[in-house]
């Protein structure tokens, strides 16, 4: 039955996140971007709300909220409405936690989930991206080969968030044929032999404050027990779709922020004797921003709802991501245009949003829905 109805719980989570983002994120976004800093205080505050880890069940020390990709995309959109960088930072441990909840064996859950059910933000990240320009999760260069009871992993990962502090990484590697069914996820403690984390974090055009790291894996030997899902492995499609759709949800929040921010300005800014909003070239841009943001959101919801229903969400995810990536960059770009020269100056958030939009919309993602 086609329905856009959120559950009461989802409405509550949405509202709480919205308020948090308005109060804590929007006002610090520019300073964070300038100083390349992510305030620990804010990470901890968001963590207290359980935004990234609420689905950890009570037996592992969590709150035990229903595990729902839809709820997560709501959170991502709302956080990103405040600040896409902080949204990515706050939610990045989810790319370690959610796959563990979804695919982990009993032993794996018991060992790793309680570590992330505490009161303070605890970094953990998925290591997915690779340096080659033709990077594609269906064809990873990082490979894991099985030798007896261990897996030997070789490859290079980059753009791993919180690589400087994360206690554990979920390294995604190819184990079978090309395609998302040919990938596996391995739980690696940061001090495992053969893993080198670059001492310098990577500098990026957007999401600047996020400490991204490059990881080199040189014959890293991982025991079989650290293969996510044990003998069963994982559903590679569901894992990657969750990452992609969360990233798209962050784009939706950013796009909405741009549209909403441009409206009062366009009504106030006068050119040739009237507010620029009264000129159709501007008014129509704003109308399209609104329309596209709505469409993007529904596409993200559709993919997320399919993930929750445990049906193959690959097509819905690909369509959503394709659409969202294109429209987000267009909206952020037009955002700068509405503000003219002022959009280009670092006092206002427009140029930052454009850099963030370009960055997010070429990434697979670093958060899991």
């Amino acid at each position: 039955m086609i329905s856009f109805e959120l559950s009461k719980e989802q409405e509550l989570v949405q509202k709480t996140t919205k308020e948090f983002a308005a109060g804590e994120l929007r006002n610090i976004a520019r300073d964070c971007d300038e100083d390349n800093k992510i305030p620990q205080k804010v990470l901890d505050k968001a963590w207290e709300l359980g935004l990234a880890n609420a689905a950890i069940s009570e037996e592992y020390g969590g709150i035990g909220m229903e595990r729902s990709a839809l709820t997560t995309v709501l959170i991502c959109e709302e956080l990103s409405y405040g600040c896409a960088t902080m949204a990515s930072a706050i939610m990045s441990p989810s790319a370690f936690i959610q796959p563990l909840i979804d695919f982990g064996t009993e032993d794996q859950k018991k060992e790793y989930l309680p570590l992330h059910a505490g009161e303070k933000f605890k970094a953990a990240a998925m290591a997915l991206h690779e340096p080659q320009f033709t990077f594609d999760p269906t064809d990873l260069r990082t490979r894991a080969e099985k030798k007896g009871d261990t897996w030997i992993i070789n490859g290079v990962k980059r753009l791993v968030p919180f690589g400087d502090t994360a206690g554990h990484f979920l390294v995604i590697a190819g184990t079978g044929d090309a395609g998302l069914c040919g990938i596996d996820a391995f739980i690696l403690p940061r001090d495992i032999g053969g893993l080198t984390i670059d001492s310098k974090t990577e500098k990026t055009m957007g999401l600047k404050p996020l400490p991204f790291s490059r990881l080199s894996l040189d014959n890293v030997a991982v025991p079989d027990t650290n293969r996510l899902g044990g003998d069963e492995g994982i559903d590679g499609r569901a894992l990657i779709n969750s990452v992609r759709i969360a990233n798209s949800a962050i784009c939706v929040g950013l796009s909405k922020a741009v549209g909403d921010y441009a409206i009062p300005y366009a009504k106030e800014r006068v050119a040739f004797g009237e507010p620029i909003a009264k000129k159709q070239a501007i008014a129509f841009m704003l109308a399209d921003m609104y329309t596209e943001t709505e469409c993007m959101r529904w596409m993200v919801w559709k993919a997320a709802s399919q993930l929750d229903q445990k049906v193959d969400a690959t097509k819905a995810t690909t369509l959503a991501c394709h659409y969202v990536n294109q429209k987000t960059i267009q909206i952020a770009d037009n955002g700068v245009q509405v503000f003219g020269g002022h959009g280009y100056i670092r006092e206002l958030p427009l140029e930052m949003w454009l850099r963030n939009a370009r960055t997010l919309s070429v990434m697979e993602g670093m958060v899991s829905a």
Binding site: L180, A287, Y290, C295, S305
Partner: protein, 389 residues
Amino acid sequence: MVDFSLNENDKNIIRALRKQGEVQRKYARYYDDHEEELAPDEFPEAAEFDYIKQMEADRGHDGCTPTVFFLLKTITEYRGDFLRLRLPPYALGNATLASVGTEEQQKKWGHMLLAMANTEPGCGSDSKAIETTATLDGDEWVLNGEKIFVSHGVRAGGVVVWATLDKSVGRGAIKAFLVPKYAPGFILAKEEKKMGNRYSDTAAIVFKDCRIPRENLLGLDETIKTKGGGGFKGLMKTFNLTRPFVSARGIGHVLACREFVTDELKKEGIEIDWEVGQYKRTAVQQKLIELEAELEAATLATMHAGWLADKGVYNNLEASVCKSKAGDISRKGPQLALEILGASGITHDQLVEKWFRDTRATDIYEGTAEIQRLVIARSILNYSSQELK
């Protein structure tokens, strides 16, 4: 719960409608080629699909909400073709009657196919600028003026005509009148020849001292409003209901194009692998994804507008959002499809070139692309129609 899946009942109905579409397509080319012939109200096979009505009656309450279901149905019917096996006794005039007519008027006129005439040679988008006048003479209204582009103007039993009681007043003096075909002074002046939608007649009608009874004023409110929209608001309210359906029709056609392209390419061994990255896709596959993504966006926006209507939420903004998006895709979708198909796509032996011509009108009638953007912009900027023209 947020959900985009269909239950078995609804799926079965959609399947049956797709089967019906195969029959619709049998006749589609003929009536495209023979524009001068009025397609019959009912084709021989129509009765064979009466069982769908029974399925609808039996769908129960756990399926899609009524408007959403009706939108899905419309998409699927128009995926078949514009040409329907049985013409529903329902056109834009009926929608106006339903939203602003009195109970008695609905009883008297509801059974009849009613066209709607607003557009004139001198104005279309700017519908408050109409010049057709209505003057009260004793117990009769006397209409004078010219209307063009009246869908079903030939076939319909009556026309809902928009006219002004006083041109100097503007919107507040515009009223809608029920004009039966046989009224004295009702002159069917012309049948247009169109790019597409040729099965459907489009008429120009001249009203020359056309006399109708006083009670044929829709809604029966004779007062001229100097403030606010007056009867004009009724027209706009009608559009909130009908715009999602115009969207659904456009979407149905684009869906037909999209399926045709995917099926044909599949025969040539070209299919989309949904999980691979862009390096592993050809430009054609990338275009197919773009086509499908835009189609999906328009579809979901349309469902959203319908879903809000079912919840009783005012959906003026969302109706224009979906119409704007569906208008876009109804142009871009068939264009992309033909671009992918190449030269053989534009030939007469299949229908895709026809769908391209048919669905182009989606972004024109019931508010052009630009008018939808005006409505959306006014709504989000909180501007009146005076403040943003």
